[in-house]
């Protein structure tokens, strides 16, 4: 229901078949797993025990998910490094 709500927050999106949120949910799970794995690798490389936004902002992630770069919104506290890079 939450996924459907997010999808329909976009005014252009019309009707959604019942099975669609199931597919999006699975794709999201895989995407998040992918993102976590890549970020964890960077956390390990830097010898840190706490994963933070700097690890998530690294160029490895940026290169791994180029499609996301132009879609990520500005957060209240900080801007992702790769968003700033992209804007330059």
């Amino acid at each position: 229901a939450r996924i459907k709500k997010i999808m329909q927050a976009d005014e252009d999106v019309g009707k959604i078949a019942l099975a669609v949120p199931v597919l999006v949910s699975k794709a999201l799970e895989l995407f998040l797993q992918d993102l976590c794995d890549r970020t964890y690798e960077i956390t390990l490389q830097r010898g840190a025990k706490t994963m933070n936004s700097l690890h998530l902002n690294s160029e490895t992630i940026y290169n791994g998910f180029p499609i996301i770069r132009e879609r990520i919104k500005d957060l209240q506290d900080f801007q992702p490094n790769w968003l700033i890079m992209y804007r330059k």
Binding site: I6, A9, A19, A27, F31, K49, T50, M51, L75
Partner: protein, 160 residues
């Protein structure tokens, strides 16, 4: 779409539940790894953006095919277009599983009211006994109806 006020909270409140997402993120990582608050927020933000991205691309695929409703095939095509082709196999498997479960639910009479949903848990003997009881009830109703309908005829014959 309007800008975010707080992480994961838009004006329409179309966001992912923070506590649930945090739990999922922690389950995806080794137990010894801590996740900073800002990283959690950004991960959740990425997830919301991923949904927006997939839905808008699915919508475009849907429009190109002159359809009014976004169907599962449109989502699969959108994933391919967006460069998430490696997800398709597992996503399709999840879709097949969902179809199977939906079919099983409908065969069991899922959603048809609590009274009938217990049928799947009945033993054969219980089901047979229930069937006999229902037959008996129906027979009694029919017999009762037949007697009631025959009654006026009997009265008429008495009058004449």
């Amino acid at each position: 779409m309007e800008p975010m006020d707080i992480v994961g909270k838009s004006k329409e409140d179309a966001s992912l539940p923070k506590a649930t997402m945090t739990k999922i993120i922690k389950e995806m990582l080794p137990p010894d790894v801590r996740v900073a608050r800002d990283a959690q927020d950004l991960l959740i933000e990425c997830c919301v953006e991923f949904i927006n991205l997939v839905s808008s691309e699915s919508n475009e695929v849907c429009n190109r095919e002159d359809k009014r409703t976004i169907a599962p095939e449109h989502v699969l095509k959108a994933l391919q277009v967006l460069g998430f082709g490696e997800y398709i196999e597992e996503v399709y498997a999840a879709y097949e599983q969902h179809k199977l479960e939906t079919m099983q639910d409908s065969l069991r009479g899922g959603g048809g009211g609590g009274k009938w949903n217990n049928g799947a848990e009945m033993t054969e003997e219980e089901a047979l006994a229930e069937q006999q009881r229902m037959f008996a009830e129906a027979r009694a109703r029919m017999n009762g109806g037949a007697i009631a309908s025959k009654q006026p005829d009997a009265d008429q014959s008495l009058d004449s």
